[in-house]
Structures are given as structure tokens and as C-alpha cells.
Symmetry: C2
Subunit: 278 residues, 2 copies
Amino acid sequence: MSYCFLNGKILPVSEAKVGIFDIGILRGFGIYEAMTTFNNKIFMFEDHVRRFRKSAEFLHVTVPNTDKEIEKVIYELLEKNQLQDKRANIKLILTGGEAVDGINFDPTTPTFYIFVEECRVLGPGYYENGANLLVHEYLRQYPEYKTTNYITAVSLQKDRKVAGAIEILYTCQGAVLECSTSNFFIVKDGKLITAKDNILRGVTRNVTIDLARKFGFEVEERAVSVVEMYEADECFLTSSFKDIVPIVKVDNRSIGNGEVGKITKRLIGIFTDFASTY
Amino acid sequence: MSYCFLNGKILPVSEAKVGIFDIGILRGFGIYEAMTTFNNKIFMFEDHVRRFRKSAEFLHVTVPNTDKEIEKVIYELLEKNQLQDKRANIKLILTGGEAVDGINFDPTTPTFYIFVEECRVLGPGYYENGANLLVHEYLRQYPEYKTTNYITAVSLQKDRKVAGAIEILYTCQGAVLECSTSNFFIVKDGKLITAKDNILRGVTRNVTIDLARKFGFEVEERAVSVVEMYEADECFLTSSFKDIVPIVKVDNRSIGNGEVGKITKRLIGIFTDFASTY
């Protein structure tokens, strides 16, 4: 039996339900957070929970638990779901709770739940041979906050699969932004470049930047053009559930020599070392 | 006790729950429809259900019931909730059902529910004295479909109340579009003008246009500028739950002479006659 946390209680997933008047479903009014574990430790918990609170503040919804309580609940869930010795993914959802008059909410009575799942690790082929991205012109509405508005991402999953792509890359007016649930980097002349604005700054993105700088790489956070991307030496994406994934094609057009880049390989090694001793 | 319809069954609202993995809550992936009754008849049912199906097709989610079944369920709900002799509001929600791998869905196993409520009619003051609107620069992402993405509308409710406004008027790059859950018209030199594109074409909007033309008014559906709005003789909004509401101020700036316009009054009369004999 699987267990989750809902509004203060740990209970079987099969009993965890949300009322039909929840503003998270009626009006899509909610936020989301995704974390992972390494060695049975929540990876970068403080960074994730800080971002979660930032998103909650943006919607003016109260997070009903302290950081310590959230952390404790997650460890309890990992244990109850026998995920201590496996890599696990953790998801947090917070909505405005029951809708008032159809479109209002009481910020003090949110719906808050947490669930954990075994991490579906990508096949090693992706890390060894690299992956393809599908390009879509789209600027998320509130990109710096992790709201539950993923209508575009969900709608494009079919096209993504048909294209044999691992992710959808959002571009806007000639600029490369982010993927639907990941961040995106290019490498040019030994330098890492990644978008700074109009994106969700992912925790794995930030860790990758910090590690890269620590190991002597130059990193620029700035607008990246579509032209620069196609002329890059290497590309990769970062995500809490996928770590660092080499990208060798975008819309089936090869990047660099079409093989996994040396710097990307080096960064995967650095990240793996960091995560494995976390 | 209140009753609703959920996935094929009529059941008490207190027992109507949605699973925590529903993609409608996890990813905001759902659509919405709102109808009202006059004289215990669903107003313009065919138009509403057609739009509902259009929105469902956009998301590639199957509507699990026929139009006839939906109509029958609504009348059963009106009876079971003792709303036959009252004006009632009806809401339909359709989501992609349980999420698969976190971001996919099975189009054939949606979550579909319907609930009814007594219509909270606006005080007569609004119809006699007119109302104020709060302006917000915003273009909805898929304006022609009624998705459940109302993050902006929900977030602005506090500001709307502080401003003493009845609704939020969305403008985009100098154009007047629509209100958060209504359509918007201006009247100039006896002519009705309302936005045609980048809006949800409301059923009450369409009825108003048809009735106005039938009664000899000229109606233009085209882009409306913010300047035109402030120079209009009259303004009003249309909505399934509010009918036609005179707007005498926008961002607290008077429209025309700041009183309810003659043509607006006439249209309210025409609409009321039409609805009362529906």
C-alpha cells in the first residue's frame, strides 16, 4: 500500500481525495514542487522549500506546515513507502483549498499534499548517446513561479513522443528559454550559457552552475538566442528528476558534431560525484 | 443535502471527491463550462454544450456522456437539489483524469463532474446604477477555449474588491478584450461594438448580439481600443450568471455621463423579455 500526506495526515493514497470544489481543480489555482533523493537524503531540500514558499507567497496561499515538519513528513513517507534504499521523487502540491463563491479562496485553509514515488531513471542510452528536443514557441505566464499551469506541456506530450524527443524546448521571439520541466544550457568555446529571465530557475540548474564555476568553467546567465543554440558546441538540460542530460539534437537538427560533448560528460561526472556524496 | 454528478453517478456532494493524482489538479489540465436556468429550463443548452465539446477537443479529452445524457443529469440535479423554482447556475468540469507518469493522461478515462447552485443574483443596484471595472493588462493563453486556468482572475479578486469593481477588464496592447468571466461591449453613436478575437465568445454575448440585431441595432465585432472605450457613450458586460450589467466606470473613470445608458437599459429589457419567455 502507498502512503501520502494530505492536510496534516499521513494516509493511504487510495483514501487521499480532494473535494470537487477545490480551487486547484476548478480554477487551476495551485503550486507545485518536485524534489528527489540521493542516498536517502532529500537533495537540496532548503532550496526547494524556499522556492515552494516563494510560489505560495505569489498566490497568497499559506503553507500550513513548517520546513521542519515538511522534511519530517517526507522522510516518514519514504520509510512507509519503502523507498529508503531507492532513489525517490517527491512532489508537493498546494492549492487555495475550497473555492468561495466560485472564484475566491480562504488563504488559511489550503489543500496541501505530498507524495513520493520511485524515481523512473532514464535509460543509460540517454546519458551516453544524448537526446533530442522538440521546439515550441511559448512563454509561460508566470515563469518564475512553479504554478500548476502545465496545459501546454501536457498537450504537447503526444507530439514530443512522435518526434522522439525527451523534452519540449520553449522558445520566445528568437530566444531559447527553458524546457517544459527542465532548464537548458548551451556550451560554446568552453563556456556554459543559460537563460536568466523568463524561466523557472531550477534547483539542479543552480547546482550545475555552482559546480561548474567551482571546477573552473565560465558560466553566463543571460538571454540565449535560437541561432546561438544551433551554433553551440554542446547542449544539455538539467532537472531534479533527470539530473544532467546531454542534448545532441534539437528538432532533429544536430548540435555540434551530433555526439555527447566533452564538457557535458565532465559536468555529468562532477554532478554525479556531488550527488553521490550528498 | 446537496447532490452532484461525478463520473457517471449522482451522489451527495460530501462524497464527491477527486483523487490526488488527477491531472486537473496536478497540471491544471481541465476545462470548464457554466450555464444558468430561466423558468427551470437550461438557457441555451445547445450552445453551451457545443462550446464545452470544442474545449474538450482542444485538450483531446473525451466527454464521456452524450448531450442528451448531460441534459438529463442537469435536470435531475436541479430536481434533487430543489432548484426547479429558483434560478440556478450549473457548472461542468472535465479533466484528463488520473495523470500517467506525472504529465500524461488517458483521454478515455477523464474526470467529469457537474454541480448546480442557486444563482447568486446581483443586487438590483448594479442594474439600476451601473458598476465599475478594474483594468488589468492580460491576454489569456488559449482565450477561445474555456480551460480551468484562472490563476490571474483568482489572484486579482482582492484588488477587484478593494477597487469596488464588479469585474476585471483585460486589456492587451491598447485593445480591450474581455472581463475575467464576462464579455464586454461599448456603445457609440447608437452602435454596439465588441471584441471578436482573443476572447472567449460567451453565450450571453452571442445572444445579446443576435437580439440587438433583431431589434434594429447595428453591431460590430472587431478590435476595440482602450481609447474608444473611454470615449464610448455606454458600456456593459454580459455573462451567463450576471446577464447584462451596465458599466458606468472603468478604473473609476466615468464612461459617458457616468449613468446607465439608454441603449444598455433597452438591451437589458430585451434580454429579460427573451429570457423570461425562454
